[in-house]
Structures are given as structure tokens and as C-alpha cells.
Subunit: 218 residues, 2 copies
């Protein structure tokens, strides 16, 4: 299931990029600059939130003008859409497809190990999610859909585990509650870890996984 927002339609070509005798170099340069802007915007939105992260700050970090940002992304919302799209791609470690039941749930261990070395992705998502609790936030639909998908995936794989006899019987409603609590605890320990370097994210996650699997097995 694709959970990202609609892709922006790509860089708007500027005079620099469409110079007829330029070969492929300038086009590649345009793509690189676009990537650099998305990376800078990811950092700035993660640090200051969407409302608090100004186009000017982002432009300064890349070393381009604010006008150049507008040329590539149209509006600040267009830039946000590009950031969320990239986040959706980058935050999904490979290797989850094809796993079933508890094997899929256990693979969250790899997802968490990936998060542990990509704190910027977590910071971006937590900051935007918290901001998006306001009804008019431009990332609200994305965040809502993301949570619905993630909770649905966890609940679905838990029900597969029930079906395969890996865990005891439970209703679909119970599976959804279990999925919500598991996802909630993952978000919460990530927040504590970002706030306090003494918190060991992976150790806490192992503890969470162990007690959760023990409960389901009972």
C-alpha cells in the first residue's frame, strides 16, 4: 500500500536547465539541487516544524535563493509534499515484503535498528505528526493515512499469526488494540531516545518486543 502523498510533478525546468546545447550535465545538476533542497527542508522541518521552518532558512542552508525554491517546488506545501514523499521512501527498510505473521512483526527489530541510525527521519515524523494534530495542518492527511496503514499492517500480521497458530486466538478488535499499543510504544520510546541520549532505543525495543510476544503467546 502506497502511503505517501501524491508525488510532485518534478522540477520545473529553469533557464539553466533547458539550455539547448548543455547536454545532460545541467539537467543532472538540477536534479542534484532539487535533492539538496529536499534534504535541507527535511532537516529544517524536523528541527523547527513545518510552520516554524521558513523557506528562507531552507534556501540559506542549501545556498540558493528563496526564488529558486519556489521555482522547483511552487509553494512551501509543494516542498512539504516532496519531503513527505522522500520520507515515505527512505523510512521503509527493504526486506519486509513477503514476511508473514510473527516473522513480519519481528522484522520491526530491523526497522528499529534502521531508525536508530537515521534519527533525522524519526525527528521529522514525530515533529510533523505532533503538529498535524491541528486540523488545518497540511501534513495531516499524510500522517493520518500513515498511521492507519501502519496500524493496519501490524493488526493484519498479528491476525495472520493467529491464523497460523503462532499466537493465541484473538478478535480483530483486540488485534487492532494490540497493534495500536505496539505502534504507540515504538513512537514513545523513539521520542524519549531523541530527548535523552542515555536512553538505549534498541534495548527498550527488545524489551517491548519480548513482553509483547510473550503476551500474545499466552
Amino acid at each position: 500500500m502506497q502511503t505517501g502523498p501524491r508525488e510532485t510533478t518534478g522540477p520545473v525546468p529553469d533557464a539553466d536547465l533547458v539550455a539547448p546545447r548543455s547536454g545532460r550535465g545541467p539537467y543532472r545538476k538540477g536534479l542534484e539541487r532539487r535533492s539538496a533542497i529536499v534534504r535541507a527542508a527535511t532537516q529544517v522541518f524536523a528541527e523547527r516544524g513545518y510552520h516554524g521552518g521558513s523557506l528562507r532558512t531552507i534556501a540559506e542552508r542549501v545556498g540558493v535563493s528563496s526564488a529558486s525554491l519556489v521555482q522547483y517546488f511552487g509553494t512551501k506545501e509543494g516542498l512539504l509534499a516532496a519531503v513527505l514523499s522522500e520520507w515515505g521512501r527512505a523510512s521503509r527498510p527493504a526486506g519486509l515484503d513477503g514476511l508473514r505473521g510473527l516473522a513480519w512483526i519481528r522484522s520491526m527489530r530491523e526497522a528499529m535498528a534502521y531508525n536508530a541510525v537515521h534519527p533525522g527521519l524519526i525527528e521529522l515524523f514525530l515533529t510533523l505528526s505532533a503538529e498535524a494534530t491541528s486540523p488545518d495542518h497540511p501534513a495531516r492527511a499524510f500522517v493520518q493515512e500513515r498511521y492507519a496503514t501502519v496500524v493496519g499492517e501490524h493488526a493484519g500480521h498479528l491476525l495472520e499469526a493467529v491464523e497460523d497458530g503462532e499466537v493465541g486466538a484473538m478478535s480483530a478488535e483486540r488485534a487492532e488494540h494490540e497493534a495500536r499499543l505496539f505502534v504507540a510504544a515504538m513512537d514513545g520510546i523513539e521520542l524519549q531516545w531523541l530527548l535523552d541520549p542515555r536512553v538505549d532505543l534498541l534495548e527498550l525495543f527488545e524489551h517491548l518486543l519480548e513482553v509483547t510476544l510473550a503476551r500474545w503467546a499466552a
Copy 2:
């Protein structure tokens, strides 16, 4: 344990407030206006974050000038300190003092019921906490101290429960992990609840409390 930031030193008297023959009316009016500004700032910071919430937006919401905000609170950071101080006061339901062990842990049910009818307080805390994952955020020390206190209180009461024979033996390290997971799950379900009105916060919390107490009892 007092976890709030240092109190601001109170309203700076303006000409309006110190008019010699004004009696108590204008002073009371000054206090009311100060409260109205803190309430508006709480809303605006909750909706847009600290960086994204401008003094101008806050001033407009109260119907005063930005200069008036500066007069009362000095700087935006001064206003944030007042908001956090008020948050620390308002977010702590009465009746927790004097409880011991599992009785204290179970009283989180009342804390959660209080949260359920004060979504603005939760929104403010989650938004500022997520923003404060950035090292230079002015609320970072407050948020870090708050988490340390809350985790410490949960762990301490869990160890009391061990001491009183209410739950099985566990090390101090294990109690801290358990406290972190419990607090993390509470934060996470609050976030899901704010993002999706179909989520039943109190039902999820009951489920969390039930499975947690069952685990500790084992």
C-alpha cells in the same frame, strides 16, 4: 517534585496598571489580560509549535498589540516559560499525592480521563516535546526534566509495589524499562487519539493498564 521552569517574575506593570487612583480594578484587569495571553499562546504553540507560533498571531487572538505581549513577558521565551509553568500546573490532576505502589499506577486512569477532556494540554506537550528533540530548542530542558521526573515517578512506584509484594520481584533497571514503556505507550496513544477521532483513548488506556498489570503480577 517541581518540574516546571522558573516562574516568570510576573507582569511588568504598564501605565494602565499603575494609575494611582485606579483602585484594584486595573490591576485585576492586568492579571486577566496576562492569563488571556498565556491561554492564547498555549493554543497557538499547540497548533503551530513554538517556532511556528508568532507573537503577532498570539496578540491578534487576544486582541492586543505585539508590544503589549513584550510588556508582559519580555521575550517570546519569557512567554514560553509562562506557558510551560501553567502547563505544569494544569496538567497535574489533584489526588495523586499520598498514593503508594500500584494504587499510584492505577491512578493514571484518572490522569488519562483528565487528559481526554483537555486535548489542548496534550497537543501542547506533544508538539513541544517533538520540537524539543532539537538540541537548541528553548523548551528542551523543561521537556527533558519532565520526562525524567515522570519516568522516575513510575519506576519508583513500581518498586514500591515490588516492596509491598503487589508485583513480582524486579531489578531497578527492569523497573525503569517498564516505566519507560508505559509512559511511551501513553504518549503514543494520545498522539493517535489526537490524529484520529475514532480512536478511543480511555479504552486503549484500559487495555494498556490491564496487560501491564498482568505482566507485573506474573
